[in-house]
Point group: C2
Chain length 228, copies 2
Amino acid sequence: MKKILEGKTKDIYEIDGHHLLMKFKDDVTGEDGVFNPGADQVGLKMEGISQLNLRLSKHFFEDLNEMGVCTHYCDADIEDLSMKVRKANLFGHGIEVICRFHACGSFIKRYGAYIEEGSKLPAYVEFTLKDDERNDPLITKDALIVLEILNKEDYEAIETLSRQISIYIKNECAKHNLELYDIKLEFARDIETNNLMLIDEISSGSMRVYQNGHVLDPFSLSKIILQD
Amino acid sequence: MKKILEGKTKDIYEIDGHHLLMKFKDDVTGEDGVFNPGADQVGLKMEGISQLNLRLSKHFFEDLNEMGVCTHYCDADIEDLSMKVRKANLFGHGIEVICRFHACGSFIKRYGAYIEEGSKLPAYVEFTLKDDERNDPLITKDALIVLEILNKEDYEAIETLSRQISIYIKNECAKHNLELYDIKLEFARDIETNNLMLIDEISSGSMRVYQNGHVLDPFSLSKIILQD
């Protein structure tokens, strides 16, 4: 198999014209050695986190596929630390959608004059561009349309789908008395069917989850959700 | 009169319960001694620019008032470098609206992966918060509503009004073969009537104007527009 991308937390291989293999790594995003799911750099290595992230992604993606949500997930090989997925055409060079149930991270950095850290938000959705060089800038609906990254219908479909998926994850967390603060999702179009689908991973690296008012570390989060 | 605010480019005095006096200064925004209407710091002094900015604001505001656009402008005293305006209640701690006809400044900093400097934009409107500490962050319609800075109706009224005013200014520039690239406007509610109105100034410090493909310095811009 040909390696087509060496990512920050995953390497990507081509299986065939319609499928990719994602190999999970033990690298996680963060700054100055501190884990931060909102960071766009790899900050540290956490031994064993690749397997937990893969198991968590498998858990969520299988549920979502069963619920009829279109995702890129085909299957996972836990021993091999790999996930087989459908090949996708990105919107532009890639977009990220953040759904926020509580104010934290970049939302507080931007709007801290108006809201306190941890305050509730009503499944508020915002879009950022995947662009390391420009620090993944926030982008408005109008700018996405003007730059022809999304049209109005795509924007609204992605916004609705993000909210649905995020509420499902929030409810999964709530079953274990955990509180989802925010989650980052990625979408693209299936290269074969052109369907809008959820891509990337859904794991400790994509979300902030709190237990009794404190953010959970990636290991504890994965272990609690996977315990059943 | 009581000075109630020492601003970056203007000082503000209270005339009475419903009126303020804005005293224009020769300071302009910029970075490292270079003029930049998009900057949020005072970068340099330009002798005489206060009078030109006041004359330009007077010119635009008088036109707008005549056109029936609600503004805070009452009158101007050119010798005194001052403008009498109606007192306003800000939205939150103040919002700025940018209308863009060409891509430049912070738009390129954020979205330079998708568009070349100078490319045309269709009167694209975006909002930022006035917050020096946080570098005047971009804010989406949804975030303005979630943070209760604007409601949906306010947002849409301000968006429409910004586009109308910006197109008027663009046409004023075009009369002199000048091209408006972008403009920054501020809005608030009249403290007495609660009317939505255009506030602050409309001058070389609020816009980027090009002549034959080159950005005009504040002096040339003011002198060309005021020549008739």
